[in-house]
Amino acid sequence: MKSKKAPYFFIAPAIGLLLTFSIFPIILALVISFTDMSLAGLADYSRINFTGFQNYQNILQDSIFLKSITNTLFYVIFGVPLVILFSLTIAILINMGRSRYFSFMRVVFYSPSITNIVAVAIVWAFLFNPSQSIGLINRVIGMVGIGPIGWLTDTSVSKISLVILAVWRSIGINMLIFSAALQNIPRSMYEAAELDGATKWEQIRFITVPQLKFSTSFVTITTIIGWLQFFEEPFVMTEGGPLNSTTSVALFIYRNGFQNNQFGYAAAGSLLLFVVIICATLVQLRLQRRAD
């Protein structure tokens, strides 16, 4: 006999942890965002004051916060299309061959996705080194007479450098999602198209891409959400510099919370980010539905 209590025993630990560390913190963040909680308030609750919408008013006038918003938009606008384009291209190319070589390429392109972000950020900072003798990239482009470029020290290219690293890292997982979907497209569709005289490009354009609609929208949503939360790359490689040119919203929140100990202020920023993420997801879903 199935016990009536058993399912509760089974779910209790997992649900308890999720309630404590995911659901309840949202409510807590909301409450904190209306207070001036800082390190002093952490030690003594009586020193926490309710400040209404003060944090929200201040943060929307904070020039660094506004800067971090434009930076984050830059990451999303350039990063997301590049990730989708590259991962889709690689998935289609790999799927054209069946040999071991092609499956091995899948391993190659996926490998950046599983590596530690701190380690690869340090490696890329080394590759991006402004000196032509130390930085590999400047050395290579120096051979054809370009540069040296201050990849991480020049405010006009620092964001691009971080996008390069992040795109390199996120191709793998999205390529796998596209690959899985590609394998589900019936072979007969291509055979029929070929009989009708369709070129390879037309087959990709009119069969592959439309058939991948579901996975493309999945990848788009998850990638946008991920890039809106862009954090580790600027944190490890540039600490948001030079001159906040790489500070993302997530890094802004972390800095205010854990380096300046302005918990209330940071919580307000995090909830604004949350609202943006929800809106972006809803808009994307709406567009998807209209397209269907």
Binding site: A6, L17, V118, F126, I204, Y254, G257, A267
Partner: protein, 273 residues
Amino acid sequence: MINIDKKLKITIGVVLGLWGLITVIPFVWMILSAFKTNPEIVAAQPNLLPNEWTLDNFRELFQRLNFDVYLLNTVIITVLGFVGLLLNAMAGFAFAHYEFKFKNFLFVLVLATMMIPGQVTMIPVYLLLNQLGLTNTYLGIVLPGLTGAFGIFLFRQFFSSISEEFFEAARLDGASDFYVFFRVALPLSKPIIAVQGILTFIGGWNSFLWPLIIANDQRFYTLSVGLQLLQGQHGTNYALQMAGAAFMVVPILIIFIIFQKYILTGFNISGGK
């Protein structure tokens, strides 16, 4: 799959090969630089291969710096992560094979947590763990990410595909619910445990944010936090940095190459539905 001729296939193979080479250059350069001395890297344009292969960088990490402590902490945290795997499996099993009050509501709630960005929970969770006195403890580092909606979802999907009759037969023999779960359900779920186990290992080994926030004391630093500290303190010792990075990345690459079949097909289970 598009039908292609041999010539096109070779062209595609070459394109992928070159692109793949660019993709792995950072790893190759990291490993080669880890065996060079720093003066060699800094001085003139270094050769591709080290002039003289040296293990001094690794020796320094473990003898002079605290990488032995960081390694131990990382291993402890990774092992504790496997408790979460068990909890996810239990929850997934209950959602798949039991009827209970609020089941659908709770399952939607679990899925909804996937939407919550880490930045929102970061501050309140820190305050919460601080209040519980769990900062600078292994428990505090592990707890926030122990269970995850994605893992629960995958286990539920997997257990849903197993017929109820398997479990019914055991119950008729008088087995308890826990016996059924541990002795019947878990052994059946080896394939998904393999996938989840590898992902849990990689996730634990790579975990950065919670160790960074919860561990202020160097004694509790993990490799990734220690590596970040190393970059700050030895900013111009590139050889040492590359050795530290290689020590974090290479074991994961090896594990990935050994188990790639499980990991890559694991995404077919989850992504191909």
